[in-house]
């Protein structure tokens, strides 16, 4: 076969390629939303707590299950965050508690992601009756009051960790479902999806190769936000006494401190320490999740609505002036 002479068409192809080719899958990583100090701070914070949970047993200065100091001792050199009502070191308790809190948070968010993602996907893709039925179910779940439900579950099935994870996941999937449904509906209308369907592709291929990959990043961003919600949910479930009595979590610590009259004893450290941890993790997840959503969902941007003030420039010097 004789060599094909260079034409404008293929020359452009050679020229048009920039030095670094960015796959469209990862283009969102360059978004300015991910560079904000808030986002980086949130990510760092999250990382710290995850490491804390993973290396808990190595980081605890004392054994959190035994008495290692006086009851309700204030923070000191020996006990950086003081002690609780049984003399156990607060810092060790907080570190140990991070394990359960984070596990529940991530696991429940995962459950919510799977349920919400599936509901949203089926609803958005099939439309019609499926959509109607699934959205009605979503509405009903949304309406169920969470605490009474948890009380009932605790009463019927016992206060086990697994139950808490499932119950949180089963309540908080609705916003994910709505988000995924909207995304799937819009991707379904894209020309390339219609084209591949017209070629003869079945639903599995359309969903698996074209729709899900497009929706996945937003789903993950939303899941990060759900982690925040789940951790907070675990905290107050346990605080209300519905948590697993044998496990240490931040919610348990707060519950204990109320049961042990920390307020009366002016032992602020017993409440503040776990409370601040919960706050920081929830804050971190929110910042990271929000930043991811901003980077992925261009419709959330409103910068174009700002006042337009263009800048004048002098022709000769090319310098800008206001």
């Amino acid at each position: 076969m004789s060599p094909i002479p260079p034409t404008a068409l293929n020359q452009d192809a050679a020229v048009a390629i920039p030095a670094t080719v960015t796959s469209p899958r990862f283009r969102f990583l360059r978004s300015p939303a991910l560079r904000k100090p808030a986002t980086i701070g949130g990510l760092a914070l999250l990382l710290i707590f995850v490491l804390m949970a993973l290396l808990a047993s190595h980081l605890e200065p004392y054994n959190p299950t035994v008495k290692s100091g006086p009851i309700y001792a204030p923070p000191s050199g020996a006990h950086l965050l003081g002690t609780d009502d049984s003399g156990a070191d607060m810092l060790s308790l907080v570190i140990a508690g991070s394990r359960v809190s984070l596990i529940v948070g991530f696991a429940a968010a995962l459950v919510a992601m799977i349920i919400g993602g599936a509901v949203g996907l089926l609803s958005g893709f099939f439309g019609g009756k499926t959509d109607m039925v699934l959205m009605r179910i979503t509405d009903y779940v949304l309406v169920i009051p969470d605490i009474p439900l948890m009380i009932i579950v605790a009463a019927l099935f016992g206060r086990r960790l697994l139950n808490i994870i499932i119950i949180i996941g089963a309540i908080y999937w609705t916003s994910t479902a709505r988000l995924v449904r909207a995304q799937v509906k819009s991707v379904r209308e894209r020309t390339y999806v219609k084209r591949v369907r017209a070629v003869g592709a079945g639903n599995t291929r359309l969903i698996g190769r074209h729709i899900l990959p497009q929706v996945a990043p937003l789903l993950i961003a939303n899941t990060v936000l759900t982690v925040a919600v789940a951790i907070f949910a675990e905290t107050y479930i346990t605080f209300l006494g519905l948590g697993d009595p044998s496990l240490i979590s931040w919610g348990k610590l707060i519950e204990n401190s109320f049961k042990g009259d920390a307020v009366l004893n002016h032992a602020w450290w017993a409440i503040v320490a776990p409370g601040v941890c919960v706050t920081l993790v929830v804050l971190a997840c929110t910042m990271v999740g929000q930043a991811m959503e901003d980077a992925l969902n261009p419709r959330l941007r409103v910068g174009h609505l700002s006042v337009r003030r263009f800048r004048l420039r002098s022709l000769n010097t090319g310098l800008s002036s206001e």
């Binding site: 452009d12 300015p32 263009f310 800048r311 004048l312 420039r313 002098s314």
Partner: protein
């Protein structure tokens, strides 16, 4: 040129890009417009025509920097940037945006949306404004009864007319229309173009019609300027541009446009326009030009007058260049 209503001189627009060199979107364009005149600004996507008229209106974002002069009745309205353009915006120069027909507020009646600019610019208010708005809508072919409807009850063509009425709300003398008929069927397009023609004749309105559609300009405008890669490469009467084009791009663009009864092949122009974020040596059209010669790739051509009122930016019109090569 004195006596012209609108004079644009050496208009330049740069866009700041994040982490990349700035984009020189409009590279020194000049044009004049007199009362009642229809000027076409033609070019393909990315040539800078929309950016240019947005610059004239002062509607560019903060990432844009603008240089040059825009004179209205001899006064430079660009002198103090936003502050000097603002009093003229909509009152003297108005614009029909691309896709304006889809930019109506869906929950307000059409007539109320025409009244809005009138009240904002203190032209009229209340009952008087409504009456004036009604008259304006009648002028563009929308009856009083239809005026009280909502945008979704209007067809595309009628919404485009309403968009034109909105632009005329404050009685401007210059109307900039960006692709006013691109999304419309050919019959509706004819109706809207006829309307624009009537407005320039009856109201003495000066019109700049920005479009990529050469035949529309050929049929509607008296004069036209062809833009390529941020510059005006040729300007003159539409008759001159079709019958004696003096820039290869103009000639090729006409040849690339199919005509109902034309003979000869419909051609395409190979290649793509140059990137505007880097400096180009020589003529920006040279890589795609079918008659490029010696100096084209090294010397940037200036705009030369080839006949009265007819200018082109091409070395082929420069006898000194041809002799030297």
């Amino acid at each position: 040129m004195s006596g012209a209503l609108l004079q644009v001189e050496d208009l330049n627009v740069w866009f700041e890009l994040e982490g990349r060199p700035e984009l020189h979107a409009v590279q020194g364009i000049d044009f004049d417009l007199s009362q009642g005149e229809r000027l076409g600004l033609v070019g393909e996507s990315g040539c800078g025509k929309t950016t240019a008229i947005l610059a004239v209106m002062g509607l560019l974002p903060p990432t844009a920097s603008v240089a040059g002069r825009v004179r209205l009745d001899g006064d430079d309205i660009f002198e103090d940037g936003e502050d000097s353009i603002r009093p003229h915006r909509w009152r003297d120069i108005a614009m029909v945006f691309q896709g304006a027909m889809n930019a109506f507020n869906p929950v307000r009646r059409i007539v109320d949306q025409i009244v809005e600019p009138m009240e904002l610019h203190e032209i009229a208010e209340g009952k008087a404004a409504r009456r004036q708005a009604g008259d304006l809508l009648e002028l563009v072919g929308i009856s009083a009864q239809q005026a009280t409807r909502y945008p979704h009850e209007f067809s595309g063509g009628m919404r485009q007319r309403a968009a034109i009425a909105m632009a005329l709300a404050c009685n401007p003398r210059v109307l900039l229309a960006d692709e006013p008929t691109t999304a419309l069927d050919v019959m509706i397009q004819a109706q809207v173009l006829e309307l624009l023609g009537r407005l320039t004749e009856e109201l003495g309105l000066a019109l700049v019609l920005v479009t990529h559609d050469l035949p529309v300009v050929a049929q509607t405008c008296d004069r036209a300027a062809v833009m390529y890669a941020g510059k005006i490469v040729e300007s003159g009467t539409t008759d001159d541009l079709y019958h004696s084009p003096r820039h290869p791009y103009t000639r090729l663009l006409f040849s690339a446009t199919p005509d109902l009864y034309g003979e000869g092949d419909v051609i395409s122009i190979p290649g793509t326009p140059p990137r505007l974020d880097r400096e180009v040596t020589g003529c920006s059209f040279a890589p795609r030009c079918d008659v490029a010669f010696g100096p084209c790739s090294s010397v940037t051509p200036e705009s030369l007058s080839v006949a009265p009122g007819h200018q082109a930016r091409c070395h082929l019109n420069d006898p000194t260049m041809r002799r030297a090569s």
